[in-house]
């Protein structure tokens, strides 16, 4: 595979099967995709088309059955568990639909958590966590628990946590899926700012075309295959959505 200096993600002939009681179920079939540094990409597709499966592989949370995945020109398939953990810690920031905060830890501690696994000393951890809190506009909630703040605020905390190790890539699986329209807009504004101002590459899964509209590029999945990959403007998203 060709090496691109600015390629963040290079995926080729990627297959993923889940092993179930009824035998192997193919979910991703011959997926090919490249993402360059600084891109803002939205992945859409009907429910069950394999978007989350794809994102989990991109986020090094799961491994593909076959095919190749290069992240920053490193072959992820050859990495050990510890090296994958290192990638999740420092190269990728993952944002989940369900936020996935630790319920018993304070907001501040939640944000500082990735730094623990990096070995950052405590004072530095708190300093960075509070910088991130300010960045996402939640400085006044630093010692609250996740269940004491709103869903939108929780997602901001999750984004702050994803950002705290200064990753160059943010992966977000339906980050606005649990939020109302107004809150979704705030979150998307935050992503746009991260992409435009800090140059962070963003790959985001969504069901809503007005969320996808924040991206520059659209990838459409259907039944485990990429059926569209191109600029957002010509995607005619609502139209395509209805045909698959």
């Amino acid at each position: 595979m060709a090496q691109h200096a600015d390629a963040v993600i290079q995926i080729d002939q990627l297959y993923k099967e889940y092993l179930t009681d009824a035998g192997p179920v193919p979910v991703l079939k011959d997926v090919r995709m490249n993402v360059a540094a600084g891109e803002f990409l939205a992945i859409m597709g009907p429910s069950g088309s394999g978007k989350s499966t794809f994102m989990n592989i991109l986020g090094c949370l799961d491994v593909a059955t076959s095919g190749s995945y290069f992240l920053n020109n490193r072959d992820v398939g050859n990495l050990s568990k510890d090296e994958l953990a290192h990638l999740r810690n420092q190269v990728i920031g993952f944002v989940f639909q369900g936020f996935n905060l630790l319920p018993r830890a304070s907001i501040e501690d939640n944000i500082a958590l990735p730094l623990i696994y990096r070995g950052t000393p405590r004072s530095e951890r708190l300093k960075l966590a509070n910088q991130m809190l300010t960045k996402v506009g939640l400085a006044s909630h630093r010692s609250s628990r996740p269940n004491q703040i709103s869903g939108g605020q929780q997602q901001r905390v999750a984004i702050a946590r994803a950002l705290v190790n200064r990753p160059r890539l943010i992966l977000a699986d339906e980050p606005t899926g649990n939020l109302d329209t107004a809150t979704s807009k705030e979150i998307m504004a935050l992503f746009t700012e991260l992409n435009e101002r800090d140059g962070i590459t963003i790959v985001l899964v969504t069901h809503e075309s007005d969320i996808a509209a924040y991206a520059q590029r659209l990838v459409r999945l259907a039944d485990g295959r990429i059926v569209y990959d191109g600029p957002l403007a010509s995607a005619a998203a609502p139209h395509l959505e209805s045909t698959v």
Binding site: L61, K81, H86, R88, N89, P114, I116, Y117
Partner: protein, 406 residues
Amino acid sequence: MTAAMLGEAWAAMGANRLRTFLTMLGMVIGVGAVILMLAVGQGAQQQVQASIASMGSNLFIILSGSVTSGGVRMGGGATPTLTLLDAQAIEELPSVAAVAPSSPGTAQMVYGPNNWSTQVIGTTPSFLTVRDWRLEEGFPFTESDIRSATRVALLGKTVAQNLFGDEDPVGKTIRIKNSPYVVLGVLAGKGQSLDGRDQDDTVIVPVTTAQRKLFGSQFVGTVRFIMVQAESAEAMPTVEKSMNELLRQRHRIREGADSDFSVRNLTAVANTAAETAQVMSLMLGAIASVSLLVGGIGIMNIMLVSVTERTREIGIRMAIGACGRDILLQFLLEAIIISVIGCLIGVGLGVGGALIVNKVSGMTVVVTIGSIVMSFVVAATVGIFFGWYPARKAAGMKPIDALRYQ
């Protein structure tokens, strides 16, 4: 890194205090039981050893009368068959260090307004040598006191205290069975004997005085028992054999007939007692260790539940970059903290319990640094051992499976 993981483990424990406390309780009880049982066991052992040390070394006691079974027989020492001349003859045997013919009895003694009833032993000065018994004050009586059967006495510590209180008994005259006796000295304290009697509750007088003036024996010149000290432990079997031969000869006992005396090796008896105490101590320790083991299994049990319950948390931690080692360390540290804190409390309770046992029952208890250190090492080991499996389980999970866990 480890400090941060320690913080994470601590926070997790604080999040479920009741459970942490209950898990710890198993450890507390286990360690407490071990400390207490070791203290009691070692106390018993120490007491036995002190008694043995107070007995004198390489000792035989020869009792009058037969103690062998068969037919109706008197118990040991019932019929006086041993004489002072027997004792003198034994003293001539090779490898015999000292011989003390003795006649015990009980008598009432009075000093001023105080009176006390106690054991009186009529014996020779070598009794003190044989029993390795020092005088705290005054002087022992001598051979000439034996020859002329003078009325002199040595008081055991308990007797001296009960008759004289704070007064100095040496040189004072007490009345035993209404006759005046001059107190020559006070014996040093010896404490309890192997069978639990107070050895200091004794008065020693010359054997001849006891025979002729105090107890008025029917057979003048006989004694109840003779204590014999061999020169060394190695010489004991030879001494035992030659004493038996000598006495049978002197008592004209035909071959095959039962002896009218019996020789007991007191040192062997003492060793048996020491072994018994040691076995008891070991058994107590073993029983207590079982509760420590149960406490350890309790930790494993709770940790396994905890790992299952916190699968999602593990998934989240892995998703943001924890590697297997980090997760392992966190759960292992939790187990170790629980067991070590449990151990600390257990040591406190064990030591406290030992002190209470000592107060309530008067038993000797010995808490050694060794037993505390040992409990600590065992507790930490139990924590690591029983924490390892659940921690492994947590660390071995795949991030995506852990995250998806409902």
